[in-house]
Structure formats: structure tokens, C-alpha cells
Amino acid sequence: MPRVTPLRVRRGSTRDDGFYQIYEVPFEDGMSVLDALRWVRIHRDSSLAIRYSCINANACKTCIALVDGVVEYTCTARLKEAGTTVGPLPKRPVIRDLVTDTAPEDEKLR
């Protein structure tokens, strides 16, 4: 039997009227939360909004989110076989799903 794990992801374009969506994700030892989120976007739901750049190296620092209640980089947080919950950063305005407004004020188009 292939191993799968539930990934609970906070969806929505505001913090208050969001909801949790659960995806069943193939599980491999050592995989990161970002690996799972990227898998979801390609294989299950391309509308899931996430922010990342360097994938694995923890160099770009843009994939930061709330993983099981702790602020972590999703590229280094390990996926748990028993299940993992991911939400947007708690202290930033939500743009969509896991993407929060982390750009400096003067880098935004208004």
C-alpha cells in the first residue's frame, strides 16, 4: 500500500472567512511540507496559492507559513505521516490561501 498522509490547508482570501481543505498526499520519509504543497498544486488543485522560490535550500526565505501552529519555513519543515496542518503567517495580511503580504511596502504596485 502506498503511504498517504492528510494535509490540512487553510484556504481563502481573508483570515476570517477561510476554511480548511484536506488533501491526501503521497508520503515519503523525509519529505518537506513544501514538497507536499507543490505536489497538491500539480496533481490535485492548481488554485492553491503558495509562495516559494528556492524549493529546498532555505535560501530565499519566502515560503514561511504556520505549520502545526508554529511559524516555519515550509521547505525545511518535515511533513508528518500522521497529518500536517498549514496556514498563513499569523501577523501578516492574507493575500490568498498561504500567501501573505510579506513584500516591503514600497515594492507593491498600487
Binding site: M31, I42, S47, N56, C60, L109
Partner: protein, 559 residues
């Protein structure tokens, strides 16, 4: 539709783009600096965890001309020597300028410490901190560019078209991901600094941003590409066990410093079978190492995950710790104890030697359209030396920004009609069905196709077949689904990336098919030798929607 106006538009905010923005702004020009992700956090620079080669001669006597000789030798006879000279001659100025802006290059005995690397005859590679050089220089440039009042930075904005009229670049159209809408930009000159093409391959060491957009934007605008067949594959990227929080190409400095042994699946040394001299020196060139590893795997002598072993077990634990202290702990946290187990490594797409054809002012054949950094083709010929990529980002970035500033047209000559094609295409995208085959899934198909057929090993048959398959994929571009919603709808960005990946992949396949020989990073199993007749550069241009190749003699040194 939002419309912006600037003197100089810089597309891509990695090392080259940020340097170009600084250089243009100090000539008194207004600059608009765009990045697909956050400014200074995407692209390749932030991932460059190792060293920057420049002949500052602080470790031992050195000269830029010696650095140039090494660069030309590594390039297997087809470097554009004018560009290579610019890289080597101006690199030292940039290293010192960066220090003035706050980069803390590692120092020893009162001077900047420089280390050796394969192919460099002098110790000339500067670094900040092991595995942190890229993030450190990106941070310096981010701070510096943020302090320049003439530079406006925009994050999550990706260019989708360069608008050209009467042979001159007039501006561009971009997707603003945060609103899901198009933006038009009138510009008096443009610098393309959107990096390379690593994303077209299944295995890649770079960040996710670089899908060949710089090449796609350039060739669609009428510029030429050069030597697109030369993709550098990094031979010993980490393969297994799963490792997070580290750059997959981190093993190189371990090998230089400590001499890790490369062993096949039977735990035998093998580099010597392919003409390399690795025993004790570990300075075999990247192209030869990639070739040797894949040959071993092909012969059934690979490691369990399809690579080879990199083994440090002969090195005492305290020596490992002395050389790489905190990294050893990060490895242990990943369950990797180098004193007890070898790791598995394999080649991965790492860098692109080819790219946009520019003159010695970094300008394409389209007036007002410049290029910088990895997006530029030619300086590194058929194979790039370790350490030259960040140097070229700085050196070419500065030159492109300077020339773009001084060559800016007196007037943009912008017309809203320039954006008509992009606007119509975008309107059609917004009408797409919401479910079905997604742009992201199409990207995976392209990545598999390119890895299997245009990776470190190529053959005429496979390249032909891949071009056919690629055309089939292109026919499906109009049927891809786009999820509903405007704000941060990644399907929109993915769709434009697919367009870039298709055109760029076609250029790589076409270039590789036309170059009927093996040279440097371009290895044809059906044509395993270099041919003097191919000691020249291949240019590609778009004519009536088709890629047309032509060959030019190599640009040699002026001196």
C-alpha cells in the same frame, strides 16, 4: 490597466538585475526593477552558496588576464572573449565595490581570503561564509538598491512581452500576480536580467523562477540567442537520502577541501575510466564528471537512486567538523553521518552558458534592449568555471545598467496599441475552463522530456523525437485550464512560464541537434568527439514563428 513609465526597465531582480538598477540609477536615470517573486529573493544569486571568482590578487599574485586564460580554456574554444574579458577585468572592481556596500567577504591576515577551485590556476575565489555567499551578496544588493531614490522596485510582477517598434524596444507588458492583471510599462531602454533556464529540466539545482523567460522575451522581441545547446550540468548534486534546508549542490566545496571519493554502485573509483585524473586531486571538470557518472549509471553500475556514491568515510570526524562545523550538524539533523555512510549524488541542471546574444555594450540587435547575468550567452563558451557566475552577474549587471542608462532614448515613443496582442491573449486566458490539464502539469511534461532527451547525454534521434513531442505539447497550450480567481492565481503565471519553457526548450533542442559534435557540456553519444569545424557559435533567431540557425566565428580577444 495600470500604466507605468520609466527611463530604464530592469526585468529580474537577482544579482545582475539589482546591479543593473544601481548602475543605471547612478547615471541619473529613473529605474523600474521587476521581479517575479520578491526583489532579491528569487533567481539564482540567492542560491549561489559557494564562491565568487575575481583576480583581486589578495591571496596570491593574480591578474585578470590569467583569469581570462582560465575562462577561455574551460570554454573549449568557443567563448566570446570580449565578454569573458569584461567578466574577468571588471570582476575585481565589483568585489571591492560590494565590500564597500557592506558585503563581509571572509578575511584572513588582513586581506580578503581567496580559495582555489577546479580550472582556476590561482586562488581567486572569494566567499562570505560557507553556504551563505549568495544570500549575503543578495542582501547587500537589496539594501543598496532600496537606498536609491531613483529606483522603484516591484515584487510579484513578471514580464510577458517586450514591445518593439521600428527596431527599438519601447517598453513591455507584465503580469501583476497580486492582482491578476496586466500592467503596461513604457521604457526608454530595457535590461533583461531574468536568469537562465534550469526550470525546463526535471532535475535542477536552481530556484523555481527561471523558466527561460529572458530567452523567450528576447527572441520574441527580435533579438538573437547564442549557443543554446550548452547547459551546464552540475555533476554531484545531492540525490539521497532526502536532505532539506541545504543547497543540493553543496558537496563541491567538501570535495575541494577534503577530497571526497566518487564511487560507483560497486564502490569502485571510476573517473579515470573516462580520461579524468581524480585520485587525490578531485579537480575533474564538471562536464567530464557528469559524463562519467551517467555512463556508470547507464552501464548498470549506479547507486540505488540512480547516481553514484560520494564517500567521506576515510576522513576523520574531527577533520570534517573542523572544515564544515555547523554544516555537519545540519547534515546530522537530516540523518546523514558522513563518517558512517556515503551519500548518493547525480548530475542536475545548474546553469546555462548560452543565452541572449549581445555586443560589448551588452546590447542585443534590438536597439534599447540589453541583457545581463546568466541571461547573456557566450562568455563561458561550452563550459563555465566554478565561481564565474556571480562575477558575471555583477560585472554584466553593472555594464548593462550603465549602457542602458546612457543609451536611453530621448522619448519612449510608447503607444497603448503595443499591448493589444498581450491584452487579447490575456482576455482569452480569463475565459478558459477552470478544470482540466493545468499549466503546472504541462511544465512537468516539458521537464521530463528535456531531462530525458536534452540532459547531459544527447543523440540525434532523441533530439528529433523530442522536437516532435514538444510541438505536440505546444498544440495543447490553448487547451490548458486556468483556475478561477484573479488575486495570486498561479495558473496565470504558470501559463506564461509554459510559453517561455516551450520556446526555450525548442531553442535548446534545435541548437543541440544542429551542433553535430560533442563539446564541453554538450555531449552527443552519437557524435562523441569535438570537430574543429564546429569551433564556432550558433545563433538562433525567430523568423515567421520559426527558429532559424546561423553560425558565426568566435569573437576573439581584441589584444
Amino acid at each position: 490597466m495600470t500604466h507605468l513609465t520609466t527611463d530604464v526597465l530592469v526585468i529580474g531582480a537577482g544579482g545582475a538585475g539589482m546591479y543593473a538598477a544601481i548602475a543605471a540609477a547612478r547615471e541619473g536615470r529613473s529605474v523600474l526593477l521587476l521581479d517575479k517573486n520578491l526583489v532579491g529573493r528569487g533567481g539564482a544569486t540567492v542560491m549561489a552558496q559557494m564562491t565568487v571568482a575575481a583576480a583581486i590578487g589578495q591571496e596570491e599574485p593574480d591578474s585578470w588576464s590569467l583569469h581570462l586564460e582560465d575562462t577561455l580554456e574551460a570554454g573549449r574554444g568557443i567563448c566570446n572573449a570580449q565578454l569573458a574579458e569584461m567578466l574577468c577585468r571588471l570582476g575585481p572592481d565589483r568585489i571591492l565595490e560590494m565590500e564597500g556596500w557592506g558585503t563581509r567577504w571572509a578575511r584572513e591576515d588582513g586581506h580578503i581570503k581567496q580559495v582555489g577551485a577546479p580550472g582556476h590556476r590561482r586562488k581567486r575565489c572569494c566567499y562570505v561564509d560557507f553556504l551563505s555567499t549568495g544570500p549575503a551578496v543578495a542582501a547587500t544588493l537589496r539594501r543598496t538598491v532600496a537606498g536609491m531614490q531613483h529606483v522603484r522596485r516591484l515584487s510579484n510582477v513578471s514580464a510577458i512581452e517586450i514591445c518593439v517598434s521600428q527596431g527599438r524596444a519601447r517598453g513591455g507588458v507584465a503580469l501583476d500576480l497580486s492582482t491578476g492583471s496586466l500592467v503596461t510599462i513604457a521604457a526608454r531602454s530595457i535590461v533583461l536580467a531574468a536568469g537562465g533556464l534550469t526550470k525546463i529540466f526535471r532535475r535542477s539545482s536552481a530556484s523555481t523562477n527561471m523558466a527561460g523567460e529572458a530567452y523567450w522575451l528576447a527572441i520574441e522581441a527580435g533579438a538573437e540567442l547564442v549557443d543554446m545547446e550548452f547547459v551546464q550540468f552540475f555533476p554531484i548534486a545531492h540525490l539521497a537520502p532526502r536532505l532539506v534546508g541545504m543547497d543540493p549542490i553543496m558537496w563541491d566545496p567538501f570535495r575541494y577541501k577534503l577530497g571526497g571519493r566518487l564511487l560507483n554502485g560497486r564502490l569502485e573509483e571510476f573517473i579515470h575510466r573516462y580520461g579524468g585524473e581524480d585520485e587525490g586531486h578531485y579537480t575533474v571538470s564538471r562536464d567530464l564528471a557528469s559524463y562519467a557518472i551517467l555512463k556508470e549509471v547507464e552501464a548498470g553500475r549506479g547507486s540505488p537512486h540512480g547516481g553514484v556514491y560520494l564517500d567521506f568515510r576515510h576522513i576523520p570526524g574531527d577533520t570534517l567538523r573542523k572544515a564544515f562545523g555547523p554544516v555537519i550538524d545540519r547534515l546530522l539533523a537530516n540523518g546523514i553521518d558522513l563518517t558512517r555512510m556515503p551519500v548518493e549524488v547525480a548530475p542536475t541542471a545548474h546553469y546555462h552558458m548560452g543565452g541572449i546574444a549581445v555586443n560589448d555594450r551588452m546590447e542585443t540587435r534590438v536597439e534599447g534592449l540589453f541583457a545581463a547575468g546568466e541571461a547573456v550567452g557566450g562568455a563561458n563558451g561550452a563550459n563555465r568555471l566554478s565561481g564565474n557566475a556571480i562575477t558575471e552577474a555583477f560585472a554584466f549587471g553593472e555594464r548593462a545598467g550603465f549602457f542602458a542608462a546612457t543609451a536611453a532614448a530621448t522619448d519612449t515613443g510608447w503607444s497603448a496599441a503595443y499591448a493589444d496582442r498581450a491584452r487579447a491573449e490575456f482576455a482569452e486566458l480569463r475565459e478558459r475552463k477552470a478544470t482540466g490539464h493545468t499549466p503546472g502539469a504541462m511544465q512537468n511534461s516539458i521537464q521530463d522530456l528535456m531531462w530525458d532527451n536534452a540532459g547531459p547525454f544527447r543523440s540525434g534521434d532523441n533530439l528529433h523525437k523530442a522536437l516532435d513531442t514538444l510541438r505536440g505539447l505546444r498544440d495543447r497550450l490553448d487547451d490548458l485550464a486556468i483556475a478561477p480567481g484573479e488575486v495570486f492565481n498561479l495558473d496565470l503565471q504558470d501559463w506564461y512560464e509554459v510559453k517561455a519553457m516551450l520556446r526555450t526548450s525548442e531553442a535548446v533542442l534545435t541548437g543541440a541537434l544542429n551542433r553535430a559534435e560533442s563539446r564541453g557540456a554538450h555531449q552527443r553519444i552519437d557524435l562523441p568527439h569535438s570537430t574543429p569545424g564546429f569551433e564556432k557559435n550558433q545563433r538562433l533567431a525567430l523568423v515567421d514563428g520559426h527558429l532559424i540557425a546561423s553560425w558565426t566565428s568566435v569573437v576573439r580577444c581584441l589584444a
